[in-house]
Symmetry: C3
Subunit: 350 residues, 3 copies
């Protein structure tokens, strides 16, 4: 790891526009040396407008330039693009770059089994362990304290941050990132209860992390009991997410920190689960499903649904319904009043 | 660690029936080489029926054999037993076995204090640490990055997976399993707030893990402030479960991933807490209590209760009540209509 | 680490009273050797009364002495002080002390970069890593498996428990404690989604832990995308808390285990968030705010508010409202009855 400050390089606004395929309104020759937030950006810095509520701030910003989707009133020069947040990402990569991993090779303080295979260009840091028969592709970063278990298979260009643990036999694709202290492939929570005692069921499935997956710090991705647990291509899993045994997460999903998905769930592609969502086991969630923060999902969810609440229901319906809980005391009072009025006026139910 | 594939051995269905005390309907001579899921099992594989909704799948299964509780229509041979899930567990153990831990002894790359005692047959992997005056029993597996703190006591046949941390003075029974990066005995969240500052209270209690306990990855089991935190015999704790200081979990409980139990709780035996349940501190939960996913428990719970919701109430009541939240807008509208009708018909409350 | 038993020393009750500025009712000459809980304390032990519901227990306690706020009936001698819990903390520190960290220096089995700077009196344990250009102050404890990343800055008297990870460039103040396997400064969950794929945005902000902060086990404190994530002076963060990128937690806050705060939140000072609270991103929480367990906070919160529920509302209102959910079936039934009565009596709506 190496802080990005060293990489900072200056570009003109015009060069940035060319890089992202946008157009400049204002001075294309100004020098931009870094990206910053809308309220902190100064001259020489570029920022972006992602939400219309900040339009007034753009007007008076001290930033050198602002990335926008359409021309608006601003003291700063504008870089107009179709997708400002994506352009912003491209510019942060250009100006600052991703974290650098200097070439250090295999540390003599690491433990690499004689039967393990390491591709060219891998860094294995002190106190990392690569076990018997593990196969690691090219240019992987294996930070201190990482455990790559026996018979694990890892593709190219992966990064395992300090103390990440990949249990035996798991399969990791290319360009996968596993943050610190995450567990991939620990035993599923599977016990057969017999005469009051819980008997551990061997968990003989694996975890498969497909290409371009990222796993957050302190996650727990259980291996399957019989079948594999799968995190689909391009899916990003936030910190402290728990995935149960045998669950299949589709491609390009976003699971925000502290989500929990129980075992044997099948989830489609491009789903978004907000913070602290819980999903019960053995259900099917469609494609392009959005689940609001803290929702508790207890049944199948069709393609394209947006749901919130516990139990989770259609979001439009739920937002109105859950916001009415506050008025329950008032509703109760009104019902009582009505009954009193009816009783008084002889509106009796004989 | 070693993947189970190497252990696979073939048995006849008749041999499996003898092993679990069941009876065969169909061909007892067929060879079974592995266990699989109902939808994936093929010839030479055995699967099981745990839920009646899958009866139709059993009929057309390609599996060689299915474990069932009673005779049903199926292309496959049947193994009839009283408790199919328990028999399934026994058969998975027989055919695949639990994870193997090859005998490697104490690695010269481990750090074992001169005053620590290790029983016969222990494996201490590279970069594991066993501190001063720790006592570890026989045949324990201490994986890389594990920390066994000073004065810790560990029984026989325990497994500590990579980067698990047992803080100073804690007590671990026999056959205990601690998954990767779990914390056992870190300081309880105890502060005395005085004039706006929070002063740390030394946490002088311990954590005691009784025999046959399993602790999931990234769990946090706080040591007690004065008294010990205890996880009772045979209890299984899922990933990312937080247990507060001084809490006593009884025997044979199941705490599913992401459960949180605050401090000074007393819980009986054979309780089941589903995912993301939260329990406030200083309460008493009886024996054989079942708590539904995401429930928030704010008071004592009697023996045998089944509760759900936040605040958690009797499950039967709660399921109906919480499912009505969806209809609050409709209820509100009806109350309004009724009032309007009463006002119109002169049904006034003078 | 070293258990506190060795440090135990006996004091008279009079000496303890002098130490905390309190007065004795009873025998000031009795010897007190340790602190204990109200129900377990015996002769020679001191305990405290923090909650009036335990007054009857104080009467018949076997404890040698009880710390109280005012004189009450008790078999034990009393130590009367203004703030019993604070006095209790002071006495536990006096009798038992905080965890001791024997001076062991820099282990030859640790990995300290040639360019790293370590202050006087630091202990760096086996298999800990201090990377290039990291600067660590005086008397810090760096336990096994800890990772202090490149360019990290650490103040004096900090403690990093086993396997804690401080990512590159983060800033840690004085007297900071980081419990086992916590992540400080891992990448924020920031992706620009373009044509269905999620592109990682370099996270170039840092995490700043101010003086006297404590971070619990398995926490995940994300670094900022552009701006820093800050945990304010004296704030205490429980186990498994997730803090999103760019969030600023004010001074002297208490965030109890399993809390999640999304990114770009600004929180004032002296806030208390109970277990499993979730806070959405981009909102402002005032000073002295209290948030009840499991609450879901979806909007700005003014200074001094106490809120609970999902969505979180004023606590007084919420406790009544949420407790009525249980009565929804009854309310629904009553509305139906009323309608039936009205229809019957010709109270019709034309």
């Amino acid at each position: 790891m190496k802080t990005k400050d060293k990489l900072m390089q200056t570009k003109t606004l015009g060069e940035l526009a060319a890089h992202v395929g946008g157009t400049v309104i204002g001075d294309a020759s100004i020098q931009i040396k870094s990206a910053s937030t809308l309220d902190k950006a100064g001259p020489g810095e570029i920022t972006f407008l992602s939400n219309k509520k900040y339009v007034p701030q753009v007007k008076d910003t001290s930033a050198g330039a602002v990335i926008v989707a359409e021309a608006i009133d601003s003291r700063a020069s504008l870089l107009v693009v179709e997708d400002p947040y994506y352009a912003f990402m491209q510019i942060v990569v250009l100006l600052h770059g991703h974290r650098q991993h200097p070439q250090t090779g295999v540390s003599p303080q690491a433990s690499v089994a004689a039967t393990a295979k390491l591709g060219a260009g891998c860094n294995v840091h002190p106190f990392a362990v690569v076990c018997e028969n593990a196969v690691v592709g090219k240019n992987c970063q294996i930070y201190p304290g990482v455990f790559i278990g026996p018979n694990v298979s890892v593709g190219d260009n992966c990064i395992f941050y300090p103390n990440a643990v990949i249990y035996d036999g798991c399969v990791v694709g290319n360009r996968v990132i596993v943050q610190s202290s995450a567990a991939v492939g620990q035993d599923g929570f599977g016990f057969a209860t017999h005469k009051g005692a819980h008997h551990k069921i061997p968990q003989i499935g694996r975890v498969i992390l497909e290409d371009d997956v990222e796993i957050g710090s302190a996650c727990a991705i259980e291996r399957g009991t019989l079948d594999d647990t799968v995190i689909g291509k391009g899916s990003k899993i936030g910190d402290m997410v728990a995935i149960g045994h045998g669950t299949k997460i589709g491609a390009h999903c976003l699971l925000v920190p502290q989500v929990g998905v129980a075992g044997s769930v099948t989830m489609g592609h491009h789903c978004v689960l907000a913070g602290q969502v819980g999903v019960v086991g053995h259900i099917k969630i469609g494609n392009l499903v959005k689940i609001g923060a803290k929702a508790g999902v207890i049944g199948d969810v069709p393609d394209g649904a947006t749901i919130v609440g516990t139990p989770a229901i259609d979001a439009g319906k739920a937002r109105r319904a859950y916001s009415l809980i506050e008025y329950l005391p008032e509703m109760k009072k009104k019902i009582k009043e009505i009954q009193r009025r009816m009783d008084k006026t002889g509106n009796t139910d004989e």
